[in-house]
Amino acid sequence: MKRLVSLFSVFLALFVFATSSIAANPIRIGALFSVTGPASFLGEPEKKTLELLVRDLNSKGGVQGSKVELFVYDTQGDATKAVQLATRLIKNDKVVVIIGPSTTGETMAVMPVVEKERIPLISCAAGIKITEPVKRWVFKTPANDHVAAEKIFNYAAKLKQRKFALLTVSDSYGASGREQIRALAAKKGLTIVADEVYSPKDTDMTPQLTRIRGFKPDAVICWGTNPGPAVVTRNMKQLGLKIPLYQSHGVASKKFIELAGAAAAEGVMLPAGKLAVYDLISKNDPQLKVLREYDQMYRKAFGTEASTFGGYAYDGFQLVINAVRKAGATPDKIRTGLEQTRKMVGVSGVFNMSPSDHNGLDLSAFEMVRITRGDWALAR
């Protein structure tokens, strides 16, 4: 009996101890990334970045005296899984905010859940439908596709290009880009002379490009993520096409130049997130410090250059911490804090949120770059 009592008291003590350590109120942050599956090139750096940031913050004592507890789940790029895991984050893990998912499709699927449960969501996907029209609880860190498209058209206007051929990938990224470009071209009075697509796993785009050549456009705009755009770039060289080629911000990494080959990629222009070119941008750029810090931190931890995609998670986390500092750590207060974000310098740009803008980025999020001798150079 005595032994039982002592055993019980040990348990009780353990229990009290355990709850008291929770009682320091850690901030429970959930994250959904497609770490494996077709969109793993997004989810993997996002997960790595977020885990790195949380470790770093906790070692410095956390935010407002409380540590951050992170719950990361892999959605495998599957919208159904994303919904299940979002519910699990909210119901079981009791998180106060969710960062992710990585793709537009998954985000669209998760949105009704967070709206109903009143948990703020900061998506790492670029689709414009996520924040337009504005949903009360949904935010996103990547700039809208039309911002990148506008950057391309503004630059093309300088070069007096008016007839464009489109070559877009037949997934949600390409479809969204295609839609935005067409709408923007119509608004600006530019002509789209050819509108071709390719599927994500295509290995030869010479038929599409041959057809495009027949329409004699001033420039070709290709919208996709690796490896498709690299194949397009190689095929253009193979066909001896001298038409200027624009790529989207989706290939703004050294990997693209490596895949396309420096010779074929020479002269390709694209709107790049500033992370890829931070050593080229002006010394007075407000983002310079953040970009350098992030890249160096990532290189130190993982031995590879930081990617724009990881930057989406970086910004998501900074927005949350910023909101917690400003407003408090409940879902409602974080939401309010997020909406009041002003001039927060992140990797993707400088965020200025408002009740009518849950993205908060403008044209300054991108730099037009031109690939020159296998490296980036600013296009002026």
Partner: protein
Amino acid sequence: MDIGSLAANGFSWYMMQHQSAQGDSTSALTLSSVKAVSMNFSHQIVQYLLSGFSTGAIYSLIGLGFAIIYNSTGIINFAQGEFVMLGGMLTYFFLTVAGIPLFASIILSVIIATATGVIFERLAIRPLRNATPLSLVIITIGGSIFIRGIAMLVWGKDTHAIPMFSGTEPLFLAGATILPQHLWIFGITILIIVINKLYFYYSISGKAMRACSYNRNAASLVGIDVRRMVLFSFAISSAMGSVAGMIAAPLTMTSYDVGVMLGLKGFCAAIIGGMSSGIGTVLGGLILGVLESLGAGLLSSGYKDAIAFIILLLILFIRPRGIFRKAETERV
């Protein structure tokens, strides 16, 4: 090298003929604008055909791999695409990571891919000799997922580029362009098809394999080791698949998951060719490649992949024995 330059000579000769014929036919037209348009259009067609032939050649080689295994075992080996992937990825690995010269990398990759095929047969197919063809087909699907998974763990999920075998400057032919790598593809494909033919018709083991494909029991009765022939067929198919993967990789790039789509396209080629391990499948691959390319260029690029599968379905519905096979011909 010889084959490459031979093919190059042959090709440029063909193109010159083509071009002069072109000149004659269009010179009759008086309107210069019409001439320009028709020249432009015919250049496009030549380009579509060239692109189609080069992808088609790859499909042919993969299709032959399907056909050879089908003929000796009666099963469809859905892991065939993974040997194509192994060809490309192993070459990338030896060439770029291990720093071995191209020629040696190619030889090593073929050897390792072939060994993988042999091990696959030994461990996954042979122990289940009495299983139904359906269970064996399902096992090959499992095998393909397994091989792909291992490749993903070992080499990661990135796409990798392999340098061209020789030269990157395009060659201009009749208003169309091809790369030296295309000549390698045509040359090596022709070489393999010729060797394949010689092997099956003039060597003892090739003849024995044909005997197995006609009637396994009878072949066994005359003293042919059927199990060894099955092993041979896996070795030949995996070697052929890996070669297809490595000659295509400098153009198409490679990653751990390229085998899925290429495997399906090769399967289509073999179906069009009626599972013949000869010229039927080769033509099947070329037809598929050309139709895809013409379809993407002339109709709509959105339907490129659909074309292959529509053909596959049509053939399976209307003419399941393939369009090149008469009712009673040999299967090898």
